[in-house]
């Protein structure tokens, strides 16, 4: 999937992937796509919840072994 930036949050546990995600999107522009990589099993539910709460759009989600990839379109 096309992306403008990647945030690698592998090896981090809740709440750090979400905290870093919130920081990262502040550096990005509206309409850009951020790829977030995480291997905390909670991220699978946490990232979609964060997206629906903050109004950023989750445009894609993949799972490759233990790694989850999320594609988030910035509000």
């Amino acid at each position: 999937m096309e992306k403008d930036a990647t945030l690698d949050a592998k090896g981090l546990m809740c709440p750090m992937p979400i905290v870093q995600l919130a920081r990262k999107i502040k550096e990005m522009k509206s309409g850009q796509i951020l790829e977030l990589l995480a291997d905390d099993i909670g991220a699978k539910e946490d990232v979609p919840a964060w997206c629906s709460r903050t109004g950023n759009q989750l445009v894609g989600q993949e799972e490759d072994g233990k790694t989850f990839s999320f594609y988030i379109k910035i509000k």
């Binding site: 546990m13 709440p15 750090m16 979400i18 905290v19 995600l21 919130a22 919840a49 709460r53 903050t54």
Partner: protein, 134 residues
């Protein structure tokens, strides 16, 4: 309008110290306005340079727990507190507990505000949820 999220912390052990910070940083990262009110034994968590320990006999294992957490890159108490403040989480000390515990404003971490119950309840009454941690 921004969602408000309040917490009351009434215990001062390591686990009770970390929980509101984890919830608070997450809430703030989700765009919520977060308010944490420390009362009774929770108050000491707002002391400058505080290093909370696990409760009871488990206190000897606090270092082990911290080590384990740092493996997963969860920061220590002080660093987590700083991150929470950076994210805009509000911290309040209960004024009555301050008198009871003999704590002065000068003993409190920077960025902490002293409130009475009514000022906190005024915030809580307008919030979407309030959690009690104790």
């Amino acid at each position: 309008m921004t969602d408000k999220f309040c917490m009351v912390v009434s215990e001062g052990s390591f686990d009770k110290a970390m929980m509101p910070l984890i919830m608070g940083t997450t809430g703030a990262s989700m765009g919520m306005e977060v308010h944490v009110f420390y009362t009774f034994f929770g108050l000491k968590l707002l002391k400058k340079g505080m290093k909370p320990k696990l409760p009871g006999m488990m206190r000897f294992f606090t270092g082990m727990m911290e080590k384990k957490m740092s493996k997963f890159k969860i920061p220590g108490y002080q660093e987590m507190m700083e991150q929470a403040k950076d994210l805009g989480v509000h911290f309040y000390a209960c004024s009555t507990s301050m008198s009871l515990m003999g704590m002065k404003e000068a003993d409190l971490m920077e960025g902490t505000k002293v409130l009475g119950a009514s000022a906190f309840l005024n915030l809580a009454a307008d919030s979407k949820m309030t959690l009690f941690i104790g």
